[in-house]
Structure formats: structure tokens, C-alpha cells
Point group: C2
Chain length 158, copies 2
Amino acid sequence: MTDPFDIPAEPSDPQFDLSRFSPYRVALAAQLLSETLARVYRARFGLSIPDWRVMVHLSQSGRASVRDIEAKVVMEKSKVSRAAARLEGRGLIAKRQSESDKRLVDLTLTDAGQAMMDELLPLAAQFQRRIEAQLGTDFAGFDAALSRIIEAYHDSSL
Amino acid sequence: MTDPFDIPAEPSDPQFDLSRFSPYRVALAAQLLSETLARVYRARFGLSIPDWRVMVHLSQSGRASVRDIEAKVVMEKSKVSRAAARLEGRGLIAKRQSESDKRLVDLTLTDAGQAMMDELLPLAAQFQRRIEAQLGTDFAGFDAALSRIIEAYHDSSL
DNA sequence: ATAAACTTGTTGCAAATGCAACGATTTCTG
DNA sequence: CAGAAATCGTTGCATTTGCAACAAGTTTAT
């Protein structure tokens, strides 16, 4: 990927405003949304955000290895591994060595984990609807912009 | 309990898609942008992101207390305090007790710090222009949406 | 067939983080 | 004005994080 600063040079504004800097604004929005959600996850389900991401991914994919999750939800594999260990300890997921490739670990939700997600996912869907309502007509551009950013910077980073 | 691996794993809520969940997408975009920038800050200036935020805020405000920075850039005060200690150790900022209120600490850039920002800020401005170019017509809605999110969740969180 | 190279998941370790507690100061209240 | 309450910045502590190293397993190349 090209150097982030490698664009045609122009006279730079002497006035730089942090509060208008998009990377800062995105980080701030992410932090505020995460904190709001994390409070609910933790209070109602005892889940950290890494825990939550693993659970949600498993509820979608049905079965996944640590590596699958690492790639799909963009978390360090050690973070995934530790989340999986916690969740297994709580009986929310099951871990098994894969038959086809014994390096891999198959992760699946247990019945208890499935039950938790049946309760949790509607709340997440509700939150999503709330955000879309809050953003109104700006949501389309917002979502499109996120897609662009995620695609543009995906390979250049981990 | 049933063996989780006996059952062909089924997604519990086909309606919910993590990759479409806005809080997740914002967090991912923030992470990718932060990693891209953090590489540059660290490689070229030896600054972590907390360091960078403190430096940028000081270059704007000229003088600020830990409390000011905590509020403006939404970082824990201990994080600000430690960043300030690091930066003072490197001679990039100066710390002194405030005259008017002796609980406060006045933070200012040193000449060395100012020189670093004179080199750094044009790169940041360049990066901002690059993002705006990448997002094209979606940038307006994107930026408006960020404003709404930041405002809506600002008080409900920290 | 076999050694080298690579992949996967876990763990040790150092650094970063969040939170609470604290001393020092200032402001509030009666 | 005095005592209580609040604010500010730092620090101790436990937890979390990222990175590198590692064992176990698989693929590649000769």
C-alpha cells in the first residue's frame, strides 16, 4: 500500500484543527459507541467486547477456528484465544481440535451460549435501528464512507 | 446438554450481520485509521497516539491543564498525565504549576516540541485531504453523521 | 521420503490501561 | 470564618494488551 502521506503536496493550512480531523473523529465516535454498548454487554451478560465479538461471529458462522475469527473480526489471535478460553470456562462455547487439520480449533456455541445470543442479538439489532434513525438521511453516506475506509486500509494495517 | 458438535451449527439470528453493524464498522474503521497513523507517528516522531493527541492539543491551545486535555480529547486523566510525563522527559513539553490555581498544571510546547509539530501537522493535514478525496461525495454525510454520534453519545458515556 | 518452511493456537513477558485512592488545593455552605 | 465538599493531578494495583517465542501439525520442494 502506498504511503499515507504520499499525495501531491499542497500548501498546508497553518491552522490544524484536531476536532475536525477525521481519524480523531472516527476514533472518538467508536469509543463513545463502544462504551455505550460495553456497559450493556457487561451489565447484562458479563461479556467484554472481545468476548462479544467472538460470540457474535460464532452465532453467525456456526463454527469457526481462532484464525477465522482473527481474520473476520480483525482481532489479534492472542486476544481471540483468550476470549475463547474465558467463554469456554463459562460454558458459553465449546472448543475442539479439528478433525481435518489438527492445528485448528473448532469453536461453537453451547446451548447456553446460543440462549444468550438469542437474548442479545435482538438488542443489538434494536441498537442498529436506533442509530439509523438518529442519522436519518446521513446514514447512507456514512455507511458508504465506512465501507471505503475499511476496504482502503484493510491490507495496509495488521 | 446436547453436544454442540453433533448439531450442524446454525446461525441463531440470520437477520443480524456483524459486518453490517455500525458500532462494529466504526470501531474497525477507527482501528485501521489509527494503525496507519500510529505507524507514522511512531516511526517518524516516536509518539504514541496519546502522546500525539496531547501534542496536537497543545499546539492548538498554546497552554492547557491536564483537565483541559482530558475534556477536549476525551482521554482518561491518568492517560493524559502519563503522556505529559513522557513528553516532558523528552523535552517536548514543559510542565509548571499554575499561578492562579495551584492544583492545575500548565502544559506548553517547548521549542523542540513546537518544531516537531511544525513538521508533523502538515502531514496530518495532508492525510485529512487524502481521506476527503477518497470519500468524495460521501464525505459530507460521513462527517455529519460523526457529529451526530459524537454529540448524541458524549454525555451518556464517560 | 524427508527436511525445510510455513501455519495455527497458546503462553510468557513487558508495557499500557482503567480505576480507585490519595495529598494538595480550592470552593461551597452555613 | 471554619469545616465540609469538590476538584486536580499523580500513583498503586490489578487487568488487558501486543508481541515474540514456542510446540504441534501441515505443506512444499527436492
